[in-house]
Symmetry: C2
Subunit: 423 residues, 2 copies
Amino acid sequence: MSEYPAVITLCHQARQAAAILAHIPTAEKNRALHAMADVLWKERAAILAANQADLEAARAAGLSEAMLDRLMLNEKRLQGILNDLRQVSELPDPAGELMEEKILPNGLHLRKVRVPLGVLAVIYEARPNVTVDVAGLALKSGNCVILRGGSETIRSNRALAAAIQHGLQGTNIPREAIQLIEDTDRQRVLELLQQDQTVDLVLPRGGASLHEFCRQNSRIPVVTGGMGICHLYVDASADLERALPVIENAKVQRPSVCNALDTVLVHPAVAERFLPKLVEKLRADGVTFRADPEACRILLPQCADCVLPAGEQDFDTEWLSLVLGLKVVVNVTEAIEHIAAHSTGHSDGILAHDPEAIREFVEKVDSAAVYVNASTRFTDGAQMGLGAEIAVSTQRLHARGPMGLRELTTYKWIIEGDYSVRG
Amino acid sequence: MSEYPAVITLCHQARQAAAILAHIPTAEKNRALHAMADVLWKERAAILAANQADLEAARAAGLSEAMLDRLMLNEKRLQGILNDLRQVSELPDPAGELMEEKILPNGLHLRKVRVPLGVLAVIYEARPNVTVDVAGLALKSGNCVILRGGSETIRSNRALAAAIQHGLQGTNIPREAIQLIEDTDRQRVLELLQQDQTVDLVLPRGGASLHEFCRQNSRIPVVTGGMGICHLYVDASADLERALPVIENAKVQRPSVCNALDTVLVHPAVAERFLPKLVEKLRADGVTFRADPEACRILLPQCADCVLPAGEQDFDTEWLSLVLGLKVVVNVTEAIEHIAAHSTGHSDGILAHDPEAIREFVEKVDSAAVYVNASTRFTDGAQMGLGAEIAVSTQRLHARGPMGLRELTTYKWIIEGDYSVRG
């Protein structure tokens, strides 16, 4: 027997809390967000000590410096997390929003009203900030949440979740609204994925294998995403000088995230002029390149220091680092075909002035975000004006692209009649 | 080896067809709907002969008369189905609809545009009309569809699907847009549920075990629904005379469908007066009752001809027949609690005049359709002005309640800049 409460118990408690949380007024939810932030700050010594213990265990286990950095909390980082949490209280509350209203010819009065989804399960890795971010977004949208973090942050997550629940104590919101699965046995994830009687949505946040695991094993609907093999196509009609900083921004500004650029496709009429300039500019940022045969013909041997021939899998790789694929395509149609074959449907764009090329690209590229003359880095809830973001969906059902508070809701129909019967 | 094409092949063909169908203009899709209807009528002899063979096999297998009736096609029924198909051409095309548009402070121009989901898989039982209905709704919304009907209608479905594909021949729409899995081996359903690389949504249409099977085995998102344990609560403030025909309509008009009434909850202040009147009225329609102890106290022994004490499972049963549960609850709050415990979240309503009771009921009952002084029978795409209906979702993700053409779409973000970079 585990020393921790059973997963099914946590989920049942969350379901009961959801029936209460769904009817808590916005002002009270906002007050709770501030109370959570206050207590998290008050309990920072315990949180940072727990994080220190996580870091020591991770170092002993041989985790990389990059992983240790993702794991690490300090007062400044905690302050940033709490500022974000307080910001969530400023966002509009989606629950209760009137989406549609109509009077039918038979006199029935229909309203379509937004309501919280209910209970979310978020399964994530490494970063302890996710614990607080997700708790805040769930609470603001009226949803309860079951949190399941990675074993390497379990001590931090326990301390954070405890402080969050302490923060709820002075409010009308049950502490069971936000629950952490403390048992790090992977079997608990499998159990969680079976709770379709109490959990409405599973959000995995992590690598491809976590998403695949959830999709394979879940009885609950899963929204997968967060993986982007992103493309920019440079048309013959593009302003080549202005295209360079857009590609640089998309590749270099933050290469480790899902909306970072992975492949540049170039029209043959401009490839000879453009590719050497592109390599020259991005080489200075530390970028290395994987080029198709035609791009190799143009770039080699002059750029052999940073250009390699592309291997078989390279155009199907999300680099998450300073590597960029290069390919010469015969025209916009071949660019669209390449994107259809290799994109994950996250963010893909065209750099062009020819309205016909732009029209074809925008119509036929079927990604969550399709760009014209802009960096792929804008695919982000805050950048796109959706408020904070809980995930980026690359599936088609329910929500696509950045998921903010609204994307954590469903709706109900309220139908008022005058003792109306169907004829 | 099966003599039929592999499921994975059908799905790949549908995926390729989807890339074409998504860009077919509305007028061309409407023309195709009429062409399909014309050919279905032209080939009616083959269709009705195939249906006759299905009927004979079903009769030999000992299927009930009710089942045989659901299976049966004749010229008149076919005409009705084709009229519905032609009607779909009159509905607005959701694909391409502009859902949202904004200019961000940084000058980016955002548009959120509706696009088809892509490839649907519809798994259904008995009724051959579903083959044509679903094909029409999928095509109109720009979606390809893989149809998998029941083995008892396989001959009818083959003839219908062949005629539908013949109807597409004179259009720009690939015949692979609408495909039937002809192999009736149940293993094919399992294979279909694994095709998450090519299929975007699974819609089961049938009994609880089919929904459970899909939910258990699918790697593709499933929208389940179509099961309704529906309630009406008669408050002390209701107009009792006017309440009777509403309950009668909800229970009797079409008892075999999912929005038919299953349980009446009654406030104790009116139970003594109301229940005998209700039983008297609905007994004349052939309704029998399953009553809780308090309703039994009121109704027995006078109404022993049609009232039985409710068994343990009776309030968790979707009757789909002329049976009605009766229960006296202490107040609106207990009615809400009973509904939370026993409803499938399909359609539940209150009959009342007290605004406070109505407010509490509407706020706290969390069903796809919540009624005030109206029959539950209005939960229907056509009745609610959504156009035709492909399914009724009782889950919370993506769509809730009746699913029309819009609910078969997703969206993409189109973001136009001026060589814009993220700061």
